[in-house]
């Protein structure tokens, strides 16, 4: 390339993205981003642009891509409504620490402030819900802003970054000067490790008789799955996983006691309130994990490993904070741990596992008669994939059933909207996951409510033949809300029944092969047909209308106070 060659800001933007390793992006063109879309056409040999059908779909696809691949997901949208349609995805990525970058067009600098066509102050609107939001107003800023955006999105505790780019910055000419931002003085992305705290934490674990570990998504984000297993295995530490942390270790690992929280495994919630040392790794004590915090693990000494100082002591008082990247802090702890036989303590989980199996799991997975249960559909899919697939879920009962009954063998295998609980997340996130990991099978469970919030993305699946296996758990209800109405609102089903269309007809309109299954004896063959299909497949499982997710800790109650049945 010649020195002093001038390129348009749009060309500089696309080159800067390629420089950061972008090979896939999700977007939707419009007036204020047209120069960038024009420049993109010259780079389609490097960048695979996926045209979504709604900008919110682009953000969830970018999230799915990021969560499955560990890379940064990128969205490209226009200003005004195109930009505001991404807000839900940005907020979702913020709460779930997902590294995405939303690049939105903006009107020319000289028009800003005139209420021009499609003018929205997107930087201001997004500041409270993202890690960094910046407006690029001249072409010279582009390479700096793009590099800074990627550094911020992927480093420290990851999260979403928003770049608005004005039309004049897109069309103005500039020299292309690559820049690399890897240090921001106001931003401590790799906090210093306090060795005193490491020693205190190791001593506390070594003297613990009943230690219990909470494994969170921070382990996946820090790529510390092996360091985590070495830590728990050396000292024989049983652990439970948060929703987003379910695939940090194989489900079959003898120390893995399953999920925590409101719909988690009973033994974990009981043992949280029995343990003497509670070790939280890369998790944030969300209220869905803690239940009533006033009664949460009051007996335990609490050790909290996290990279984000604002999480320490936020919800639960912490005795020993261990700030830092868990990929570094876990090995420092492990080398100081004593090997210890804690089999009696570990064995004490069994009683509660048995009780849950008998009262909940067995009934859910092996009903004698009646319509299909949600759990048995999940179990059938999980068994048929050998636990090797990436699980994506929508939000609601389908999410809780899928996360409870899916089995994980590989890291980065659960993609779900945990913090925001965004209905509609599943289908587009599965699109992103399939593109982020084309070598893996992607199964997405959705409900009849959430599916209809992002059903337009069937168009994206059709156009790109994206091989997502979609399983609709159709109970003709907004099931989770209905369950709460049943339990806490005296069965007054206020606006939770859905009058649904024929979903198979919709799938067929998009050329997506489908099957509907109602009978138990057809389930296995239906799942096999779905998994053996080349490309996308839509499986509608008609499940019991009033199925409930159990066990359940009622909101505001102590976490170990779980209902086993309604």
């Amino acid at each position: 390339m010649e020195n002093n060659e001038k390129v348009s800001g749009s060309e500089a933007l696309v080159r800067a993205l390629i420089e950061e390793g972008v090979d896939t992006m999700f977007g939707y063109p419009g007036g204020a981003i047209m120069p960038v879309y024009d420049a993109l056409m010259d780079h389609l040999d490097v960048i695979n642009h996926i045209l979504v059908r709604h900008e919110q779909g682009a953000t969830h696809a970018a999230e799915g891509y990021a969560r499955a691949s560990g890379k940064v997901g990128v969205c490209l949208v226009t200003g005004g409504p195109g930009a505001t349609n991404t807000l839900t995805g940005i907020a979702d990525a913020m709460l779930d620490s997902t590294p995405i970058i939303v690049i939105a067009g903006q009107i020319s600098t000289d028009m800003i402030g005139t209420d021009a066509f499609q003018e929205v102050d997107f930087t201001c609107v997004t500041q409270p819900i993202c890690k960094w939001s910046y407006q690029i107003s001249s072409p010279e800023e582009i390479t700096w802003a793009v590099s800074r955006a990627f550094f911020v999105a992927r480093s420290g505790r990851p999260g979403p970054v928003v770049l608005s780019i004005t039309k004049n910055a897109q069309v103005g000419m500039t020299e292309y000067i690559p820049r690399k931002v890897n240090y921001i003085r106001s931003y401590d992305d790799d906090p210093e490790i306090d060795m005193t705290r490491i020693r205190e934490a190791a001593a506390a674990i070594n003297s613990a008789r009943r230690p219990f570990v909470l494994a969170g998504q921070g382990i996946e984000l820090g790529n510390a799955q092996e360091e985590f297993l070495a830590f728990v295995e050396k000292a024989g530490l049983p652990f439970g996983c948060t929703l987003l942390g379910l695939s940090v270790a194989p489900s079959s690992h003898p120390l893995n006691k399953g999920m925590l929280g409101m719909h988690g495994n009973y033994c974990n919630n009981v043992k949280t309130n029995e343990c003497d040392v509670l070790i939280a790794v890369g998790m944030r004590f969300d209220d869905r994990v803690t239940g009533n915090v006033a009664t949460y693990a009051r007996q335990a000494k609490i050790i909290h490993l996290d990279i984000d100082p604002s999480e320490i002591g936020k919800n639960v008082p912490v005795d020993i904070p261990v700030l830092g990247n868990c990929r570094k802090t876990l090995p420092l702890l492990t080398e100081r741990l004593l090997k210890m036989d804690r089999s009696e303590w570990i064995e004490s989980f069994r009683k509660y596992q048995d009780e849950e199996y008998e009262k909940v799991i067995d009934r859910e997975l092996h009903p004698a008669a009646g319509p299909l249960n949600m759990g048995e559909v999940v179990d059938a899919v999980s068994s048929a994939t050998g636990g090797d697939a990436i699980l994506v879920t929508d939000v609601g009962q389908n999410q809780m059933m899928a996360s409870r009954y899916f089995r994980y063998t590989r890291k980065r295998s659960i993609i779900t909207s945990g913090g925001m609980g965004t209905m509609g997340f599943g289908i587009p996130a599965a699109i992103g996951a399939a593109l982020g990991r084309p070598d893996r099978t992607v199964c997405v469970f959705t409900g009849d409510g959430g599916l209809q919030m992002m059903m337009q993305e069937f168009g994206t699946i059709m156009e790109h033949r994206i091989p997502v296996k979609m399983i609709l758990l159709n109970n003709n209800y907004l099931g989770n809300v209905r369950q709460w109405q049943e339990l806490f609102y005296n069965r007054r089903y206020s606006f939770t029944h859905l009058e649904n269309p024929d979903f198979q007809v919709i799938a067929s309109a998009y050329g997506i092969p489908s099957r509907r299954v109602l009978a138990r004896e057809d389930l296995k063959s239906a799942v096999d047909e779905m998994l053996s299909a080349d490309g996308p497949f839509f499986l509608e499982a008609c499940v019991a209308e009033e199925g409930n997710v159990m066990p359940m800790t009622p909101p505001g109650k102590p976490i170990d106070n779980m209902l086993m049945e309604c």
């Binding site: 201001c124 500041q127 409270p128 960094w132 911020v152 890897n182 240090y183 921001i184 106001s186 002591g313």
Partner: protein, 186 residues
């Protein structure tokens, strides 16, 4: 149950980028805490801006506020102080109606008593400045207001420096520069 509130002074050091004030302000909006006073100015460090914010809130909220402000990418540091941990001052200006003021006896004793500084005197009004504690300003305003002579009144909001001999923000930046030196050295 109403929790006890305390008057806190928060000192924030940030980069001087547009939009930072909004980012800091949204933290207060989110928790529905009113800002009693706010002052933003340059600091002794190059390109570093300093906010002095005072607000009355609970210990639990102040903890959340600090965490959330510190989490903002371009904020270098936010810390909070109670009155015994800082030296603080404020400036107020009073535009006083001359006629009403003259009608009141012992005017000069009042202004001298507060150690005010006369900025301007015209036949219609005088402008008086008072630098000092927020309480002194409240008190002078109260006395002048009783006379009914205050045409305009403005106060700068508190500014504060810490009472500690340690300069934490300078140390923090120096330490960070050393720790991340390996990256920028390339």
């Amino acid at each position: 149950m109403e929790e006890n509130t305390t008057l806190y002074t928060i000192i924030v050091h940030s980069e001087n980028f547009s939009g930072i004030l909004n980012q800091v302000a949204t933290v207060f909006t989110r928790l529905q805490v009113n800002i009693e006073s706010l002052n933003v100015s340059a600091s002794s460090m190059k390109n570093v801006h300093k906010f002095t914010i005072s607000c009355k809130t609970t210990a639990r909220n102040i903890d959340k506020i600090l965490k959330q402000i510190n989490k903002k990418l371009d904020v270098i540091n936010a810390a909070c102080y109670t009155d015994d941990e800082i030296f603080q001052s404020e400036i107020a200006m009073f535009k006083i109606s001359a006629s009403e003021f003259q009608n009141w006896e012992d005017t000069s004793r009042l202004l001298r008593g507060y150690n005010t500084h006369i900025v301007e005197v015209t036949p219609e009004f005088l402008v008086v400045e008072l630098a000092g504690s927020s309480e002194a300003i409240d008190s002078l305003y109260g006395e002048l207001d009783r006379i009914g002579c205050v045409r305009q009144f403005v106060r700068s909001g508190k500014v504060a420096v810490t009472a500690s001999p340690l300069e934490k923000v300078n140390d923090l930046l120096a330490r960070r520069r050393d720790r991340y030196g390996y990256r920028t050295a390339q």
